[in-house]
């Protein structure tokens, strides 16, 4: 394999991760505010179909992306309304929406199956794209991939370096304290859930208008991506940068599966495609195991030096969810 093909492959990894990045960022914002949007898998499929349909009918790619965001925002609004206003289980509503939106995308998308349509073209950045290695890797992508780079940075700055971001953290960790400081907890949760939903809705068109243009229904290879993004959000410890790293790692593993296929001929391709899932479970285990009671007990019984080493290791990997995640806020 030449250096050229590896570079092209890795640039493809960055592009392929784009939908997952938007989904992870959207879910991170929503969950930071305390609302789990479990509908993600269905939202992405419906926005992929809807975004493509709008772009196809209007011949305007931008409108397609906006339609995807609108769909994501609307689905998130249902989640927010049902869980915040009507106090129903976020998991139940989100799960039903995940299935319903998926079936709805197959149902409404039927006329668009396999229809050729518009596609976002690569947009090399002048000068920067000529830098060796970095140029072909980062600066010969399409507009939506550039947007994903910027969004990771913006989301991180917003959450960890601004005043409203501090408020957001408070709403997810200790809503009662945030309320005393004057935050309208439930309104903020509505806003972040809907904005997060719009970002998740961007993931669909990022696939159906860029990576694999068109709508292929059940065989588009998109079903399941939302569930992966959900695990990556946890893996990322509700941090945009760590989440983005998880998304790139996932895309890299998928690419590795494709590359290794000719070498591992006896393994069916479908098996390599799901290789990230056992790894995902393993990482979730590593991220969570530090929270388990028996681990603490076992560690306490160990000699000082061993305990310190493991405690440090576990703390580095550990990620704890926002304390008020999934808990409705009631002012009393």
């Amino acid at each position: 394999m030449t250096q050229e093909t590896i570079l092209v492959g890795l640039a493809g990894v960055l592009a392929f991760a784009t939908p997952v990045i938007f989904a992870v960022l959207g879910e991170t914002l929503s969950e930071r505010a305390g609302v789990i949007n479990l509908s993600m898998n269905g939202t992405i499929l419906l926005s992929a179909m809807g975004g493509f349909a709008v772009a196809y009918n209007t011949d305007n790619i931008l409108l397609g992306f906006l339609a995807g965001m609108l769909i994501g925002a609307l689905v998130a609004l249902i989640v927010a309304f049902a869980s915040i206003t009507l106090k129903q289980s976020q998991v139940a509503v989100g799960f039903v929406l995940a299935l319903t939106c998926r079936d709805l995308s197959y149902f409404l998308g039927n006329p668009y199956m396999g229809v050729p349509g518009p596609r976002l073209q690569a947009m090399p950045v002048p000068v920067l794209s000529d830098i060796p290695v970095i140029g072909p890797l980062f600066f010969r992508q399409d507009a939506i991939t550039y947007l994903s780079f910027i969004s990771i940075f913006l989301a991180w700055v917003w959450i960890f370096r601004t005043r409203p971001g501090l408020m957001l953290l408070g709403i997810g960790e200790k809503p009662s304290a945030a309320f005393i400081r004057g935050a309208n907890v439930n309104l903020m949760r509505y806003i972040y859930t809907v904005i997060g939903g719009a970002l998740i809705g961007l993931a669909g068109p990022a696939f159906s208008l860029a990576i694999r243009a068109g709508w292929m229904g059940t065989i588009s290879g998109l079903d399941g991506i939302g569930w992966i993004a959900l695990s990556i959000t946890i893996f990322g410890g509700w941090n945009p940068v760590r989440g983005a790293f998880g998304a790139y790692l996932f895309a890299f593993l998928q690419w590795l599966g494709l590359v290794l296929q000719p070498v591992l001929t006896q393994v069916p391709s479908q098996v390599l495609q799901v290789a990230p899932f056992p790894l995902m479970i393993l990482t979730l285990l590593l991220v969570n195991i530090g929270n388990a009671e028996w681990v603490e007990r076992t560690l306490a019984a160990m000699p000082e030096s061993v305990r310190k080493f493991f405690a440090k290791l576990l703390r580095a990997m550990r990620a704890s969810p926002p304390a008020a995640l999934g808990v409705p806020f009631e002012r009393d």
Partner: protein, 345 residues
Amino acid sequence: MLKGRLGNLVFQAIALALAFGVVSLILISLDASPMDAYKNMFVGSVGSVRKIAEVLVAFVPLLLVTAGLLVTFSAGLWNIGVEGQVVLGAIATTWVFRYFLESALPPALIITLAILGGMLGGALWASLTGILKTFGGVNEIFGGLGLNFVSTALTIYLIFGPWKRPGVASMSGTVPFPDQFSLPQLTDLRISPWALGIALIAVVIVYFLLQGTYFGLKLKAVGRNFRAAYLLGIPTWQYSLYSFLICGALAGAAGAVQVAAVYHRLIPSISSGYGYMGLMVAMLINYQALWAVPVAFFFAALNIGSIQLPILMKLDSSLSGVLQGILVLSVLLVAGARQKFTKKA
């Protein structure tokens, strides 16, 4: 004003009307007649004895899965991994059949062993989610989802690898088993009364387990308030694991029936989404075992009734899933609105 049983019925009716209203609007927006669609779905599901038998074929695994989920829901667990537990049940059943392919044992014994094997397979797979949850701190939703994907990959690996058809492996599955390995069916109809019996017995057992035993009471205590149950001396993590094992065994039975009575081989989509559908049914019936039978039948009827839609009306058969989803969603929303409304009054 609207309280008790009458109130429940009124609100269920509102939710039903809301769901059919929304789906009708979707159909009208596509220039399709809602009445025609519903009529075709009705005729296509209960229009003839043959169709009803088809509905029952889908009803059996769905009821088994729902019965199992009632147990995990009682323990306060979201066992999304149920889909993979169905798959592993099917794989284990196939394995047992393959093991006894040349054996001289009576077929009835082999079928019994195969179904028990399926239940064991489902239970073991469920225990993975349970162990990840209780000892690894991995939420059962994520552990279960990951294992679902792994189970699908395992099926495909087996079909294309060790268990492939002589000659060329294909998505059509493994070599069909000989006739004597099939659960006895009614003449001319695909439904096996044995499979139907297993499913109905399962739901009755689950009903009594949850309503009439000390075990069920403790399980519900764990589900309602994990911490309080623990302080009361209930071994909480054991009860969580038990509920996973029971649900996995019933889901495994569903997979076993799919192999022994429906497909007679292992196919890539052997679970047919019944696991996820069972979660919807369990939510719709608000986790009450008695309603599992009629609602599971209704959902199965929608699935079978929509099969002909692409031919009759050029509509995608996923309409049944849309209708089921919007129905569950309306029930959740109406229930929430009702609570809000009655609290204020």
